[in-house]
Symmetry: C2
Subunit: 301 residues, 2 copies
């Protein structure tokens, strides 16, 4: 997915958020905003937003001298999510359809996205939970997802953010644990989950966790480790969480189940839903779509 011009003001806002997290010095904030604005003036908008985001957050880390500006915030978000976990777990277990409730909660957790929101409080997360439990959801895709994971030999779960990964755990626990590999980011960027967040969330104790070797706020396959790419291509089912993974993988050459909250109008527009929607989407891989089109054309449809 290409970068929209609407992403550019958002990148600047995000840069300022990150600079303020990393430093109390207004001169540092100003230097960050100015350098990011300079980059924005010549960025390649044909690239997906996380490609630009990766460059911007490298600038921020360089100018602030902080290798992980969001570390304290990530710890706080994990703690909030872990406080909510026992109640949510009971809710899943008490449900007539624990799988569906776990899917809805995993999507609700995607509200914990510091790339989109400058501030996220516990009340925002609670509201997202209530909304995700009540929201209309694409039941056809949900059933397809249920069947795909139950038939799968290996499930590759591409996680998104710290805090959110506690909500992912609720869904992971409804899947056959021995078949799951969870992937986190290789290096810190925004509040994206790295290995330490998977540990904090208790996910490392449940399933195999690998990191993707990258510091992009999404999944740029050519920037990921060979292990990540192999797992990604060989898995029977790939689950990709959040906007950054959608932006980078929606054109990938394999089927993917995307679970996300469409938090910004650019993503919502690309998906074809309302801003704020609870999204479960099954991508049609480019090659298969082309084959289908060829077949239809041969059949004279």
């Amino acid at each position: 997915m290409k970068t929209s011009l609407d992403c550019i003001p958002c990148f600047l806002r995000q840069s300022l958020d990150a600079a303020r997290l990393a430093s109390d010095d207004p001169r540092v904030h100003e230097a960050v905003v100015r350098e990011v604005a300079e980059k924005a003036a010549c960025m390649n908008v044909a690239e997906p937003p996380p490609v630009i985001g990766q460059k911007i957050h490298r600038i921020i880390r360089k100018l602030t001298g902080m290798s992980d500006p969001y570390r304290d915030l990530k710890d706080r978000l994990n703690q909030i999510a872990l406080r909510l976990y026992p109640g949510l777990k009971r809710r899943v277990q008490a449900s007539r359809d624990p799988f569906e409730i776990a899917v809805r909660l995993a999507i609700a957790g995607n509200v914990i996205d510091c790339g989109v929101y400058s501030q996220i409080a516990e009340k925002d997360i609670k509201r997202a939970i209530d909304e995700a439990l009540a929201a209309r959801i694409d039941t056809v895709t949900l059933e397809g997802f249920r069947q795909a994971v139950s038939a799968a030999g290996e499930i590759f779960y591409v996680a998104d953010n710290a805090g959110e990964i506690v909500f992912d755990r609720l869904l992971i626990e409804e899947l056959p644990l021995q078949k799951i590999v969870v992937a986190v980011k290789g290096h810190p960027v925004i509040n994206d989950a790295t290995r330490s967040d998977a540990e904090a969330a208790g996910v490392t104790g449940l399933v195999t966790v690998i990191d993707n070797g990258s510091d992009a706020p999404g999944t740029i396959l050519e920037d990921c480790s060979e292990t990540f790419r192999r797992r990604f291509h060989e898995a029977d089912v790939v689950i990709a969480k959040g906007q950054g993974n959608y932006e980078t993988l929606s054109d990938a050459d394999r089927e993917i189940f995307f679970l996300l909250k469409a938090k910004c109008p650019v993503i919502a527009d690309d998906i074809g839903c309302e801003s704020g929607s609870v999204v479960i989407s099954r991508s049609v891989p480019l090659k298969r779509a082309q084959d289908d089109a060829k077949e239809q054309s041969h059949a004279g449809i």
Copy 2:
């Protein structure tokens, strides 16, 4: 008031809004965003936001070839406001305190600010009216304002936006008409009111209207005509509407009554109120504040 770093993402969003109003060509939109980002990288944040806004909107007009990108929108906003006017007028007349209701409605009209909002619908304006009528207001300043205008020989009313100027008319009609001079912008910028908007609102038929000779989305005194400056300095009471006038005149060397909706957190923070507040504020001119401080220091306070 200085420009905040938070204004920079907002300038970029505003530029994109303006570019889209002025042209359907995505290449033009991109050129505007890139040139504004380049300017943002080296802008002087010691200047008030409207000084930067003036430069940015000159770029937009140059790149789009449109001398007044917001003209159609301004016409539509005037029409919406004029449709609401008769009902609001009855509301003022039926009130036990028509002056206070007219003040509240003039502030409500300040929601019609295309610099802040990408889109403004009639329902947003109606919501702002309901909020302004119900909101807490600084009654001490309101009473001071009432006394000041009733004692004034000349009242100088610095208007803000198209659409909003219809709401200003409600307040103007509660003041002694022959004592009022209304000032509008000299040239188009964002949806700021120019003479044609004062005409559309029926204000030119009521009171003297002058233009300030400037294309800044605020009041940069040194950029205004000599007539404007003379009226501004000689009037007994100056009323300044909206955020742009607050940003440029809050440090001016004379007393001003500011009427505005504090729509953005930067302004709200400067005023010391919540975002969204209905604000009537009486500025203490710098010179008088200095004299008062000197007097207090002499008196050993």
